[in-house]
Amino acid sequence: MVGLSLGEKHFIQGGIAQDIRSDGRKRLTYRPINVETGVIPQANGSARIRMGATDVISTVKAELGKPISLQPDKGKVSIYVDCSPTAAPMFEGRGGEELSTELSVALQRSLLGGKSGAGAGIDLSSLVVVEGKICWDLYIDCLVVCSDGNLLDALGAAIKAALSNTGIPRVQVAAGASGDEQPEVDISDEEFLQFDTSDIPVIVTLTKVGRHYIVDATTEEESQMSSAISISVNRKGHICGLTKRGGAGLDPSIVLDMISVAKHVSEQLMNKLDSEIAAAEAGEDES
């Protein structure tokens, strides 16, 4: 928990009401985003995102697996977030576990689409090697290294960066296997396939403090929130997932207004993130 004095609370709330926050930002301005890709050589793809003091790492590992019988033409993706107690003492034990599940579920909701696989940011059918027999299983693991608010947006951005950094080995399927036999495969260690990450949404969290909403709230600002809505928006401007936090009730018209604000903010965030990712990739190639 953040210990704030009454004066500090008033300062934060008053600043937000007057559109100048304690670190000088406006209500709808993000902190500078710092992207590094390829930070974990063991993984197929990885990225580290820093927004102010919030620091997260996301990795992608691909393994060959078998598609589930209900959806033979789709690969599988699992997302897991780990909040290490090294980041904050409150992450120890049950507190960290609860936050981890909450973040994992919110990310799955935003990135994996409906049960039928429609509207998924990650194209699951591109993960299939042999229909009904072999597919790629993507394990997306995220680690919260340091937390200073707005974890969900940072994690969403880190996953997008990590996926665009991911190379999936090309697989040669040995001909001749028939019927129910599991075909033999040869995994190339030279040729890699790149992921199409243009459809992956960005997550924008609007935190409601008083009567106004802010983006990219710090921990101090989050402690003053009445409720927050995380909305993931893709390039087409469609909403791909929505999660509400905080117990306070909201008028439905405010929810709709928040959705339209989030759509507007997401365009800028998407462009900024894309250029940062491209710059990080270019920097990695040079070194």
Binding site: R109, G114, I239, A248, G249
Partner: protein
């Protein structure tokens, strides 16, 4: 199964004003199908509530929506565990679990953490926690049979159990979910529809205050569609709350007799 006829409507489908919007949706896509249980797209399953299902609890409720059957008991307010820090407002502790026989494939029967936290977030805004400082209210929900829309039924049933326990709330909490199948919105989906859905929307709200306490959306949605879905759900929620309220009234009037 259903409540006494004539007293209250047992269904909480949105009002006919929405049916005007509904017709063009059907024609334009030529994808009209009959839902597995023969309902219309915007027709909800009959809702049945009964309070006082468990004697040992301070309040409890049983809900049955089609094949979805849940039981919720509320214990407390009782003393918080010794290890807990002092708190000048009350604590709410929620737990949702499934029986091993609730799902088609035999389940684990363990606590459903995601649903538990969703239930907590839906209810905490409605309960006036200031009225029972230093104490904890435990809400235990058990899904006896999973027939689709489990979480909304659990939430509605839990708020009824809280009311039965006499815990002060701003309003009853009603919850309705909706599935997006192709271009159609299907309200109160059953298990089969949920497993094929392209997207889902869940609203929990306090109908008298007209406030949304919890909202989740999955899948890809355009803004007008979210609008339409929210309106449908809010309308259904306010009708569901009427059924819940009449169930409470019925329970108190029979106990007085």
């Amino acid at each position: 199964m259903a409540g006494k006829p004539g007293t209250t409507p047992t269904t909480y489908s949105p009002s006919p004003t929405n049916q005007k919007i509904r017709r063009p949706i059907f024609n334009e896509n030529e994808v009209d199908w009959v839902r597995p249980d023969g309902r219309g797209f915007h027709q909800c399953r009959p809702a049945f509530f009964r309070t006082g299902a468990v004697n040992a609890a301070s309040g409890s409720a049983y809900a049955e929506f089609g094949n979805t059957k849940v039981i919720v008991s509320v214990f407390g307010p009782r003393e918080s565990k010794k290890a807990m820090m002092y708190s000048d407002i009350g604590r709410l502790n929620c737990s949702v679990s499934y029986t091993t026989f609730a799902t088609p494939a035999r389940g684990q029967g363990s606590e459903h953490k995601d649903f538990s936290s969703m239930l907590h977030k839906s209810l905490e805004g409605a309960i006036i926690l200031e009225t029972f400082p230093k104490t904890t209210v435990d809400v235990f929900a058990l899904v006896l049979e999973s027939g689709g829309s489990d979480l909304p039924v659990v939430i509605s049933c839990a708020s009824l159990a809280l009311a039965d326990a006499g815990i002060l709330m701003h309003d009853l909490v009603a919850s309705v979910s909706l599935s997006c199948l192709g271009k159609n919105l299907v309200i109160d989906p059953i298990l089969e529809e949920e497993s094929y859905q392209d997207g889902g929307l869940l609203i929990t709200c306090m109908p008298s205050r007209y406030e949304v306490t919890q909202l989740t959306v999955t899948g890809e949605w355009s803004t007008p569609k979210i609008n339409e879905g929210m309106q449908l759900c809010l309308d259904a929620c306010s009708k569901l709350a009427k059924i819940m309220r009449s169930c409470l009234k019925e329970a108190t009037s029979t106990s007085q007799e």
